[in-house]
Symmetry: C2
Amino acid sequence: MDKDISQAVISRLPRYLRYLGELKDKNVERISSSELSVLMKVTASQIRQDLNNFGGFGQQGYGYNVDYLYSEISKILGLEHQYNFIIIGAGNLGKALGGYLNFEKRGFILKGMFDKNPDLIGTEVRDVKVMPMEELPAFIRSNDIDIAVLTIPKEGAVLVAKVLVENGIKAIWNFAHVDLDVPEYVQVENVHLSDSLMKLSYNISSYNENNKQ
Amino acid sequence: MDKDISQAVISRLPRYLRYLGELKDKNVERISSSELSVLMKVTASQIRQDLNNFGGFGQQGYGYNVDYLYSEISKILGLEHQYNFIIIGAGNLGKALGGYLNFEKRGFILKGMFDKNPDLIGTEVRDVKVMPMEELPAFIRSNDIDIAVLTIPKEGAVLVAKVLVENGIKAIWNFAHVDLDVPEYVQVENVHLSDSLMKLSYNISSYNENNKQ
DNA sequence: GTTTCATTGACAATAATTTAACACAAGTTG
DNA sequence: CAACTTGTGTTAAATTATTGTCAATGAAAC
């Protein structure tokens, strides 16, 4: 029954969490919105407003308790759950994501990897074997998989996404350079790397344009 | 002398380019904002407004010429330049980005890779050898490097960024999970993968919250 | 040519987001 | 324990982004 929180706010939460984590590591006990605003280079107002979307975590005259706020934001982001995930596409990108241990710390458990390339099948990332695509549907059904990570070229992505959805996947982290068309109940988070690179390219040119003499 | 274009607009340009590229491949000659709006699931108004930030590329009663619009957006994004880039961090992620051939098609030329791990030094990605970090400063200076891609853990990233900037790098594509503090003339584009994953996590939990019975 | 039709570019209206302002509860100090 | 300070939570204002509308204009039809 939460009222809708804008994606702009959601996008900022992980960054708050990151800074709070660093403060925790430094054994900082409390912090005010204005101190945090200096650290993070945002307005104190925005911090307060963002947090108040989810309830009051601070105390007048005291500020925010770092540990408490950290754990509340974790909860908001759903990081207290465990999620089982699989990776489709065992190329370098798939392997990089599969090998990234910090995901496990956050409760994202790699259960399987899949690829259509016979040379990759049987190879391992950590203790997880790469399986052939034929085994994908059965694997999803019998291993309680929550998230599928798509690290394959765009040509195959649309079809694979269809298979994923048919077999009950509810969330896709999509690195394929194509917009997936899935039912509304399936959550998709796109990471379009070349879009990001083009943005950088724009900012380089635009800076040069505005600063040439 | 361009007036400032908002990052929201810039972020949408690569997506326009992608759809226009697909239309080009299908030999579509012209398209109206309303046709494109259906394809892309945005409003026609937004398309026209976005494009008009940069000038009038269409024609009343005709629409937009696909080839022309494609090339104009390419120019806006600075994709008619060539950029030389290097990758710092030759792990799986670095190798994945280094091996991604589409970047080269867009004018991003991989000139070198660097890592501090002796086991990786000398290995190759395409025809580019991984070099030790000691050679980084001299290499940047003598090879006209525009962009550095940071695919190393956050611990080393801040220091490496400092070295990059000192040696003349003007743009950083940052995959390290930390905010870099660089002079304003250095363009930084962040790709924080775990932030993206947390956003997905939020959307899963939030969907479940709102739809449980 | 002239008329009709399609569709842009411009702008006004609306919506969303961010920043500022401030009342007041909670802490602190002498 | 009274006066003072801090800093949240909240409401209001400002800014920014998105959408809807329409006159102007060029393309197509005849």
